[in-house]
Amino acid sequence: MNNNIVIAAIGAILLSLPFVGVDSYPLHLIIVILIWSFAYTGWSIMGRFGLVSLGHGAFMAIGGYVTALLWNNVGLTPWIGIPIAMALSGVVAVIIGYPCFRFRIVGHYFALVTLALSEVVRQVIIATRDTTGGSLGYTPERHGEGWSILAIQSDDRVAFYYIALAVWAVGIVIWKAVDRSMARYALEAIWEDEDASAAVGVRVTHEKLKVTVLSAVMTAFAGAMYCQYQMFISPDTIGGVGISLQIVFAVVVGGIYNALGPTVGAVITLLLAEVLRIGIGTENICITDKICLNAAGVPLLIYGVMLVMFIIFLPKGIVGGVLDRWRGPAQTGPSKQP
């Protein structure tokens, strides 16, 4: 059974879910997981080639805020607002990526530059609170009750579920398209040796920029869809370093080298966060009279420990680890078919 059959089977199950009587709350969780999976898939498209960005929270925030701001202030439908947000995100990716790639800022240094981008965008949102609502968050204005195709708003979870499912499927298709393209070979080669790649005609800066823009644009789209679904965004729920790290963590857990890795990562991390939120809540946990921890920080603590464990014991993530067990490690080496 190959990967495509697994994806098709999962797709079929997902398509039929609303018909088997899934309650509103689980359906909500699945919608959120699908939207985040798209963002994670977008990140992994570049992350799998050693382009580790800690700035994708910025693209997510650009997607959400630009779409909502254009809708609230200019009355521009998200059908136009979302492409504008995606284009803006692409421009930001070029502004950050071009100098990095041109001057060979790679590895940890690239991660640090993108980390700064995350924080810059978060601070801009907070600083312009008169427009963006600052730390308190921002809500797109409702366009009447029920469904609005113009505003891409819906009270109907089932309808939004199918939108999220389509978005997720498109993410998988894009991941697969990149995986099968010659650009994949070029990016793997660039990751290993930029000079040797350039010597055989690969346009190093151009190739890296292409995949970075694609990744940024996908993440911005995920941000916009998240905003349209939740109808509320804040710098901490959609942007900043926290979200950037959450994206990296989920992909590492799920598996960076497989199309379904980011989805598995999203399922595990978001369900874990939900279980912890319900199980522990946000109250203080006191170890002694004087030492108390806020329970809201517990998921982060668990995330941190898990991240270290995964990097040490399961560097290819859950999907990569399972496939290694099943097919043997050679399958995750060089590709086998031209």
């Binding site: 010659m182 070979y185 070029a186 080669a189 290993e192 346009r203």
Partner: protein
């Protein structure tokens, strides 16, 4: 097909290559020799775009390529090998060559052309063309061959071969030398070959250029250069008789 005039490269106050001129005709093999630090690799790096010349001109088939970036020079028809092989270990042998066949092609290569170019390049150097063989299965000679196959997959007009014999035993050296000759004869590729193994090089090349301290000190047919007192003094030394005998063959 290649005209190099006044090629110069400074690194700070040090002049690595000083005002070097040379020409190459189509299908010619030029041996580039000289002691360590004489400027051979610097010339290679300028011809392939890794280094930008401070002065001078490099014209390939009438087009200026001096100072252009490496990928552009590759697409203009210059393929190169590295002295220490630099394969992409994440990719299979065929994928390594296919990458070159796709991106290094002077026109717009399709995927099918890329795989075909790759298979042709690999077959020419005697490496496996199946999609499963990994780079880790190759020894020193295999890696040198892969360097050549990658360069050939780009369908170059000019091949820059950097110490293709280093690390090989005697029989492998003879094979590699024959391979370069075959590449010229079968594909009509012009070759500049940097090498320290004089005995083998002198048997294969049409012409030799000798560098010392970044300047050209001799150029001509192998037997003439091998007998040049200045070349013997700065480079050949006690090997001069053996090299002269090889050049005469």
């Amino acid at each position: 097909m290649l005209e190099v005039t006044g090629l110069t490269k400074h690194f700070g106050g040090f002049t690595a290559v000083n005002n070097v001129d040379f020409n190459l005709d189509k299908g010619e093999i030029l041996g580039l020799i000289g002691p360590n630090g004489s400027g051979k690799s610097t010339i290679f790096n300028m011809l392939s775009g890794t280094l930008v010349p401070n002065a001078g001109s490099v014209r390939l088939n009438g087009r200026e390529i001096g100072g252009a970036p490496p990928h552009k020079i590759c697409r203009m028809g210059v393929g190169r090998t590295f002295q220490i092989p630099r394969p992409i270990r994440r990719l299979s042998i065929l994928e390594n060559a296919a990458l070159a066949g796709y991106y290094g092609h002077s026109g717009v290569a399709t995927r099918e052309e890329a795989w075909r170019n790759a298979a042709e390049g690999l077959a020419l150097v005697g490496l496996p063309t199946d999609p499963y063989s990994t780079v880790d299965t190759l020894g020193a000679a295999g890696l040198k061959k892969l360097e050549l196959a990658k360069a050939l997959a780009t369908k170059p007009d000019l091949l820059l071969a950097d110490e293709s014999l280093g690390g090989l035993d005697h029989s492998e050296m003879d094979q590699a030398a024959d391979m370069l000759r075959n590449i010229r004869e079968e594909l009509g590729v012009t070759i500049i070959w940097v090498e320290h193994i004089m005995g083998v090089l002198m048997r294969v090349v049409d012409r030799v250029m000798v560098l010392d301290h970044g300047e050209k000190i001799a150029e001509g047919k192998p037997q003439d250069v091998a007998a040049d007192p200045k070349v013997i003094e700065v480079y050949l030394g006690s090997d001069a008789d053996e090299v002269a005998a090889a050049a005469a063959r």
